[in-house]
């Protein structure tokens, strides 16, 4: 009896964010009528995408993009930056607590079951940051690509990110380790807790750019047939808003490129 009660409480807590605070999703006209566009963001910074200035002001290309969309709609923009994870941003949009979500979000099968996405505003290739010695040992004389393609070592991904889903699909033989954040994941790799990290080409290059000494211990690999489509999350029923955002993304195509992202971002990381 006590166990059943405990289970019920645990279940209620687990679904609380999406059920207790769910709101009615708003399509384009409702947003215009309400005079405010609510934009969901991660609570943590994503350098080169959005960061907080020392005074707490949000800046970065994703913030600029959200403001441009607000201007195009003729409404003010309100940021809802309480998401603890990338999936948390999707949760906010799916629950109707935000109209759109922009936090370097990749389209995934699981997310598409809950929200819809705009056309991608940037496409990044999937990549691995790996411990050279561990991979060379596993390769036993073969090229590293042979090991990485069928990776069966310990593979770190950020918990609640699209890469957890990508990893299960692309590296089914790997032992997945979900990390709290990117900094912790990189530290874990350096300490030998995992053999490789899985994320996009930008983040992998960024680590090696800011910590060049790691080039000796860590290698980088790009997966040529897997891309992350970074898009704006939209409520599942908001077709008109999706059309509007696709038009905006199409007009600003080229604003985000791998090189411009690498050149623009600061030295912080997450």
């Amino acid at each position: 009896m006590l166990r059943a009660l405990f289970g019920a409480v645990a279940f209620a807590l687990a679904i609380a964010p999406s059920t207790l605070t769910a709101a009615e999703p708003r399509d384009l006209q409702a947003i215009v009528d309400g005079q405010v566009l609510r934009v969901a963001l991660t609570r943590f910074d994503l350098p080169a995408f959005h960061v907080r200035a020392p005074d707490g002001t949000l800046t970065g290309p994703e913030i600029d993009m959200a403001r441009q969309i607000g201007r195009a709609l003729g409404v003010k923009v309100e940021f809802v930056d309480s998401a603890e994870s990338f999936d948390g941003v999707v949760d906010l949009v799916a629950a109707g607590r935000a109209d759109i979500g922009v936090s370097k979000l990749s389209q995934t099968y699981e997310r598409l079951k809950r929200v819809r996405f705009s056309d991608p505003y940037v496409t990044l290739r999937h990549a691995l940051l790996f411990n050279r010695a561990a991979v060379a040992r596993a390769a036993a004389g073969r090229p590293p690509a042979a090991v990485l393609q069928k990776f069966h070592g310990r593979l770190g991904v950020i918990g609640g990110s699209a890469y957890a889903e990508f990893a299960r699909r692309n590296f089914p033989e790997a032992a997945l380790v979900e990390e709290r954040g990117w900094d912790a994941a990189v530290d874990h790799l350096i300490a030998g807790g995992v053999d490789a990290l899985y994320r996009d080409e930008f983040e992998i290059r960024r680590v090696l750019k800011h910590r060049p000494a790691l080039n000796v211990k860590l290698g980088s690999a790009v997966i040529t047939d897997q891309t992350a489509l970074l898009s704006i999350a939209i409520c599942d029923s908001c077709t008109k808003l999706q059309e509007f955002l696709n038009y905006h993304v199409g007009r600003s195509r080229g604003a985000f490129t791998l090189q411009s992202l690498l050149d623009s971002e600061g030295t912080g990381s997450r």
């Binding site: 060379a136 036993a140 590293p144 990485l148 080039n215 000796v216 690999a221 790009v222």
Partner: protein, 436 residues
């Protein structure tokens, strides 16, 4: 190569210009200019390229004439089996000795050298800067076609299916195989019919040698114009960061060259200083042109005329030996592996050092007929059995390659010049006479 040149004045001028002191002074000047990097260095590059182009003019015709003549000489005298047996034995001994020295000397050096954090950071920055910042690319979908291997490999790379194509492509290995095969067939055909074109070949050889004599007047200029810009490519910054590779490599190479000179002197019963004075020309020509085959005519002339080494082993061995035995690559691969091992914190047991020596010698054969970045690919054969990353080695080796290429060619020429002296043995050396 005692060819009737009929140009005593030119010969005297060539010997005067190519005195060891002038050659070494040119090398010294080139090193200083390369280190100082004066702005006019860029103007020297075309001069160097022009000089190499001149030397290329007659290399293949010279080899096409020389090898059949050497084959005929060996077959006619009946000494061919003995000479070939002797050459093969010394080649095997030389490969074993070079491989052993290439592993032992740098191991001793690196045993007491551990890179500090600053050096590791510096090297890491060099890797990130010089590579395309991504080490490996692969596809999850295994059905995606892999990149097709370019060109022939293995034994097919030796078969001159189209000699004219090989000649026009400057494919020296296939040309040498053709020349050896053609030489044997010409001797046999001559025995049957009594007709041959060997006299014509001898004339072609003499003509090529004469043209080389003209160009040899420019050797000091060529040395400065070719070595200085090459050294300038290697920034002092990179050299400092890679000292764990560069110093053992330079020390081992110097030891191998000195040993080759000493062994040659011993075999020829000549003073080491005399052998050094003679061989400094072809070795430094190798250093400047970074092309071993170009040095063959000068090396043959030096061995036969200056050191009085018999013609037969020289002409039979040197063109083929220089083209197929990439001796400089053995210490290069061995020390690169030990260096990457130090960086990645790997230690080598005695048996692993033996395996490393064997792999480095074996992998050097995989560089036959290739140059540039492709010549670095066989390094993977040496690194990967020890769990060391080839991807980390490539950008680092490319940084030191301007210097390493010079040293590798010097080793190729210097040590290959030692083999005919050893194969000739005492019976020939006795007739050479000290101070001749």
């Amino acid at each position: 190569m005692t060819l009737a040149r009929g140009h005593n004045g030119l010969d005297a001028l060539s010997r005067s210009i190519n005195r060891p002191s002038i050659t070494l002074a040119a090398v010294g000047l080139a090193l200083i200019l390369g280190a100082l990097r004066p702005p006019f260095l860029d103007y020297l590059r075309p001069v160097g390229d022009f000089y190499v182009a001149l030397l290329h003019i007659c290399v293949l015709p010279f080899l096409l004439a020389t090898i059949p003549l050497a084959v005929r000489s060996a077959m006619a005298s009946g000494s061919a089996p003995g000479v070939i047996r002797s050459l093969s034995l010394w080649v095997l001994l030389m490969l074993a000795a070079v491989a052993a020295v290439s592993v032992v000397v740098p191991s001793l050096f690196l045993a007491y050298a551990a890179p500090d954090e600053g050096t590791i950071a510096h090297i890491g920055a060099l890797i990130g800067r010089s590579a395309d910042k991504i080490d490996v690319e692969f596809a999850i979908d295994a059905r995606q076609p892999a990149a097709a291997a370019a060109g022939d490999s293995g034994i097919m790379a030796l078969i001159p299916t189209n000699i004219f194509a090989s000649l026009s492509a400057n494919d020296s290995v296939r040309v040498l195989v053709f020349a050896a095969l053609f030489g044997v067939a010409m001797v046999l055909a001559e025995r049957r019919s009594g007709h041959s074109i060997f006299d014509a070949l001898r004339h072609i050889q003499a003509v090529c040698a004469l043209i080389f004599d003209w160009f040899n007047l420019l050797v000091p200029i060529g040395i400065v114009a070719l070595i200085a810009p090459q050294i300038a490519l290697l920034g002092p910054d990179a050299f400092t960061a890679l000292k764990l590779f560069a110093y053992p490599f330079l020390a081992t190479s110097a030891l191998l060259l000195a040993a080759a000179l000493a062994v040659s002197a011993l075999a020829l019963h000549a003073r080491p200083a005399r052998v050094f004075s003679a061989l400094v020309k072809p070795v430094m020509l190798g250093a400047s042109t970074r092309n071993s085959l170009i040095c063959v005519p000068l090396a043959l002339d030096t061995l036969e005329s200056d050191l009085k080494v018999p013609k037969e082993p020289c002409e039979l061995y040197l063109p083929i030996g220089v083209a197929t035995l990439r001796i400089g690559t053995i210490p290069y691969f061995a020390i690169a592996t030990l260096f990457i091992g130090v960086l990645m914190g790997r230690e080598f047991s005695l048996s692993e050092l033996g395996l490393l020596a064997f792999l480095a010698a074996g992998a050097s054969f995989a560089t036959i007929g290739v140059g540039g970045l492709a010549a670095l690919a066989p390094l993977a054969i040496v690194l990967r059995p020890f769990g060391l990353s080839y991807e980390i080695a490539v950008p680092l080796m490319l940084i030191v390659d301007p210097l390493a290429e010079i040293v590798r060619t010097m080793l190729n020429v210097g040590i290959n010049c030692m083999i005919p002296s050893l194969a000739a043995g005492r019976r020939f050396a006795a007739s050479a006479g000290e101070g001749a």
